[in-house]
Symmetry: C2
Subunit: 348 residues, 2 copies
């Protein structure tokens, strides 16, 4: 592989001139420039980004760690981060890591990313590593949280205002006549999940529906986990009339359980959940969900990071708190006017 010196020799100039031609970092006479360019072409020279990173002490590489790229919520966020990074130009890149919500894996990955000298990190934290991340952030490393924040870690963050959105969804269920509303809680150490359950409780309290700890069902955050949890829930003698699923895996698992029990949604049981995955509106009945602004999350997270990296912003961390949107479709039925299902889609 040709180096800058090979090009310099071929063009009869110094390595500095070649560098300046490549980077347009100082004036070079037109003919010199032309000679350099043609030498580059004939030697098929390609700048070595590794050497460049070493010299410049920045890599143009950003770490992105999410729980699981297979989760449509995260894949949409990743997609929009990638678009933003790409749009910024300058050949910036993303290193992708799946933490699987595993604190140890997250920690090891962060170590690898730091060794690789990523310029910054966008992270949906698994929940542990609090001190480690606090120290990292305090040391001046650019860290941006997405989806979840860690108390006491002074990093920028892009979060969704889960609690009112969950409350709105629950209120919607209550308005349709539901009183026995279970919540399936994903077994993650994530602030977002806690907030969704809190929102559910808020709405119950408002409606003076007594809280029953049995109606909180804990489930592994996976389709299969939710299927199991759903089967258990649906087999109960006094089963709920509605279920609120705290993320899209859980919604799908619950929907499968409803099908497997030979029940029908929304007649036998209403199902609603978080995340407006593409299938939510293809599924029959179309699912009533809270949509998170995934594209916005990614875009803003990248923006916060670049603001730090470019020193456009220094000092106190910034938190974006984005609204989520209740999208009313048909999966919650209407206990008051049954069985008149309405076909329109309402955004509340």
């Amino acid at each position: 592989m040709a180096t800058i010196y090979d090009v310099a020799r071929e063009a009869g100039v110094s390595s500095a001139t070649v560098s300046h031609v490549i980077n347009e970092s100082r004036y070079v006479a037109a003919d010199t420039r032309a000679r350099v360019l043609s030498a580059i072409a004939s030697l098929q020279y390609r700048r070595d980004g590794v050497a460049r990173s070493l010299r410049r002490q920045k890599t143009g590489t950003i770490g992105l760690m999410i729980a699981d790229i297979t989760n449509p919520f995260f894949s949409e966020v990743v997609r929009s981060v990638e678009d933003a990074v790409h749009a910024r130009g300058g050949g910036h890149n993303l290193i992708l890591c799946n933490s699987d919500e595993d604190v140890g894996k997250e920690r090891r990955y962060i170590d690898v990313l730091l060794e690789r000298r990523v310029d910054g990190l966008i992270l949906a934290p698994a929940g542990g590593n609090r001190q480690y991340l606090a120290d990292l952030s305090a040391s001046g490393f650019s860290l941006v949280f997405v989806d979840r924040a860690l108390e006491g870690v002074g990093a920028d963050a892009v979060l969704v205002d889960n609690r009112p959105a969950a409350a709105a969804l629950t209120r919607h269920l209550i308005a349709l006549g539901h009183r026995r509303i279970a919540v399936v809680k994903a077994g993650l150490a994530a602030s977002s999940i806690e907030e969704r359950v809190a929102g559910w409780r808020d709405a119950l309290a408002e409606a003076a529906i007594p809280f029953d700890s049995d109606s909180v069902v804990l489930s592994a955050s996976s389709v299969d986990g939710a299927y199991e949890a759903g089967m258990e829930l649906l087999r109960r003698p006094h089963r709920p009339t509605a279920v609120f699923c705290t993320n899209n895996f859980l919604t799908l698992g619950m929907v499968r359980a409803v099908g497997a029990m030979g029940l029908s949604c929304p007649c036998d049981i209403a199902v609603a959940g978080f995340d407006d995955v593409p299938w939510a509106s293809g599924f029959r009945p179309r699912l009533t969900v809270v949509a998170q602004p995934t594209a916005e999350i990614g875009r803003l997270a990248a923006g916060l990071l670049f603001d730090r990296l470019d020193r456009r912003r220094t000092g106190a961390p910034v938190r974006h708190l984005l609204p989520a949107q209740l999208i009313v479709r048909e999966s919650c039925g209407n206990l008051l006017v049954r069985p008149a299902a309405r076909m329109g889609e309402h955004v509340a």
Copy 2:
């Protein structure tokens, strides 16, 4: 950030010894080792991977370019590649790129990846850049195709045997009594899509169903594109009784169109497609699909790449051709014994 020299000074040894302690690359006396280790700890030293990459002339970084991480087919492949890379140890990493099926974008991304000196590239090619990729591969760079191959490019590949799988799916439709079977063809320059359409034609020919060019509907490879195409198809005076969608975006778009037209599946129209996305079996009716072995694809692709990188294999390119599996569920109905829908799931 402390360097190896800082550690050396602190421990009273040379930089070489520190390096050897870190890499366990030669014997170091126990007490020397201990001093180095404690110096590393007290200085919070972290090896600089950039300098290391420059010196070793390898980065431990792998490029992974797919069309769109938001497509569940690709996100599952990416996930399994990442698992394989991670499982290999040694802190290897993945740089993720979305080509969006755009040849120019693909080309620019490859240039960036090469500048970053990735050790190899796993690629679902957009269809152009044939000569460029051929030259790259011929130059000794490790390239592995997934999902699609490019004729004339001598690179390793992990492919799915699309044609017989598509034929099997079509035969299934024919066996259920369908004769007017349309295919929605994704507008991509991908060998996989061509093969699926070819398989469909094979099955029609076997059953002596005359080929009608009107029954091939071209659609942008997106949910919205397929929705439009689906609406057009379903509004035809003599509409088909079954539709075969050549990827999961198209299936979803078609399902939405069926719903929007107020039609019901499978009574009014049968829908089947490629890709067993998680929602395929949550959706009612559960979708009959061809499942691609996504986990296997990623695992094998990573394996092929590592075999090259580690020189366990040299010479002629290897192609894995994996079988796809028809999963019969309820979305294709049964024109012969209607409307008896069966509930069991059959794997053919």
